[in-house]
């Protein structure tokens, strides 16, 4: 249970981190909070020759609240995001999702960017990124590029980040509709564990209760977290009720191809996805309607 040997470099800046990545390529891994990477090294599932530590780069921990987006440094700690009232007012799903992520000790160290690049298909933050269409800014020595979440996640524990790239910043879209509500819900064996299945939704409504904008998705039931933009669009212009929420949720669940494991069969995961999407849609809708 001890990590294999490696060499360590504490990067003083993102430029230095990218320089080190360009030198060492595949042999190097970035370490942020380490809450997933260190266990994987302890289990010898990963044996990087180099760890490049980005924890001391202050620029990667800045959170900028802009009109249409929150720009968040990749190394922002999960606990910082949970506590930030102004951020919660703009992107409430982050705090709602983080309530299900790990425990105090892991959230104090774990980072938002680290959870995204780890890309566990049942993790909470990748699902939020997927349904909000977050944009992920990647940096390499040779330049920068930005990927939408849908192009970022490639499979279980896989992303389209190149070996010489470091996630620098996440852009979380802010919905400016006044009556916006969101919800995150999941089933896990114990609170703080990875979800057996999870669902999240965000809905904006007009003063008459008609949906004007809808997004929702499911985690833990496919190779990556999945958003359902066409089904979400079908709810626009409608008032939500339990029957409509359930019908859309059933259609989403039927489209999933979950795995079975020791915790849940395929059929049970699909069933959970339907139940959880129904709940998330209703809770998000009720929250949107209750905005004065």
């Amino acid at each position: 249970m001890k990590s294999p040997p490696f060499e360590y470099a504490r990067a003083a800046s993102i430029e230095q981190a990218c320089e080190l990545l360009s030198q060492h390529g595949d042999a190097a891994k970035i370490i942020a909070g380490g809450q997933s990477l260190v266990p994987m090294m302890a289990f010898r599932l990963l044996r990087p020759s180099w760890l490049i530590d980005i924890n001391e780069i202050a620029a990667l921990k800045s959170v900028a609240l802009e009109t249409d987006a929150v720009r968040m440094g990749a190394c922002t700690r999960q606990c910082v995001v949970s506590r930030d009232e102004a951020l919660a007012a703009r992107v409430p799903l982050l705090r709602q999702a983080l309530a299900f992520v790990g425990h105090t000790q892991t959230r104090n160290r774990g980072t938002i960017g680290g959870s995204l690049v780890h890309a566990d298909p049942s993790a909470e933050l990748p699902l939020v990124a997927q349904i909000l269409e977050a944009r992920l800014a990647l940096r390499a020595k040779s330049g920068t590029r930005t990927l939408p979440a849908s192009a970022f996640f490639a499979g279980p524990m896989m992303t389209n980040v190149h070996a010489d790239e470091c996630l620098e910043e996440i852009h979380w879209p802010v919905w400016r509709e006044r009556k916006t509500g969101s919800a995150f819900t999941e089933i896990s064996r114990r609170h703080g564990d990875f979800a057996i299945a999870a669902a999240a939704a965000q809905i904006a409504v007009d003063d008459d209760g008609h949906c004007t904008r809808v997004t929702f998705g499911v985690g833990g039931a496919a190779r990556t977290p999945i958003a359902f933009p066409e089904l979400a669009q079908s709810l626009v212009g409608q008032r939500m009720d339990q029957a409509k929420a359930r019908a859309v949720a059933q259609e989403a669940a039927a489209a999933l191809e979950p795995d079975s494991d020791i915790h849940a069969s395929i059929a049970y995961r699909r069933h959970l996805a339907g139940v959880l999407v129904t709940r998330a849609l209703q809770q998000a809708y009720d929250a949107a309607r209750s905005v004065q």
């Binding site: 249970m1 490696f6 266990p39 302890a42 001391e56 790990g102 425990h103 104090n108 160290r109």
Partner: protein, 163 residues
């Protein structure tokens, strides 16, 4: 293969420690094997059990999920740092004795760190907040109830100004 050594300076319980460590030395191994601060326990070594909890710059973290080299320049509080200056038990530690909040004692240092961090931030916690604060710490003896009682008792005693 000989591994490179990295020079680190870490404040542990108010004392500055200078050391040389391999990169792969976990913070908890360094505390126990190099500094002989064996109050912090090693349980699962992969971030599940919480027995190795310490405070990093005042916030509880798992010392098995950090390398000692990463603590360079930071401040660590271990369970040894919770005692009063004269070496007697803190209000929280005494409350653990009072309510029989430990049996085998393996989880106790992690529980104490998690609970102290809670009380530092939230002096009058609700029962739900107490249970959430120790949610990342496994205990196989007590069933948790006496631990929750101990933390609630400590909060009451501190509020009453008991020293």
């Amino acid at each position: 293969m000989s591994e490179a050594l990295y020079s680190i300076v870490v404040d542990i319980n108010g004392t500055r420690h200078v050391s040389h460590v391999t990169a792969r030395t976990s913070l908890v191994d360094w505390l126990r094997e190099h500094l002989h601060l064996t109050g912090t326990h090693i349980g699962c070594e992969h971030g599940i059990c919480g027995a190795c909890s310490v405070m990093l710059d005042g916030e509880p973290v798992r010392s098995c999920l950090m390398y000692a080299v990463q603590a360079d320049g930071h401040r660590i509080t271990t369970v040894e740092g919770l005692q009063r200056p004269d070496g007697s038990l803190s209000v929280l530690q005494d409350s653990f004795c009072e309510t029989h909040a430990l049996q085998c004692g393996y989880c106790t240092p992690g529980m104490l760190i998690a609970a102290q961090a809670l009380l530092d931030a939230t002096p009058r916690p609700t029962e739900a907040e107490i249970r959430d604060a120790i949610g990342g710490n496994l205990c196989r003896c007590t069933g948790y109830q006496q631990i929750v009682d101990a933390i609630a008792l400590a909060a009451r005693r501190m509020a009453e100004g008991a020293t």
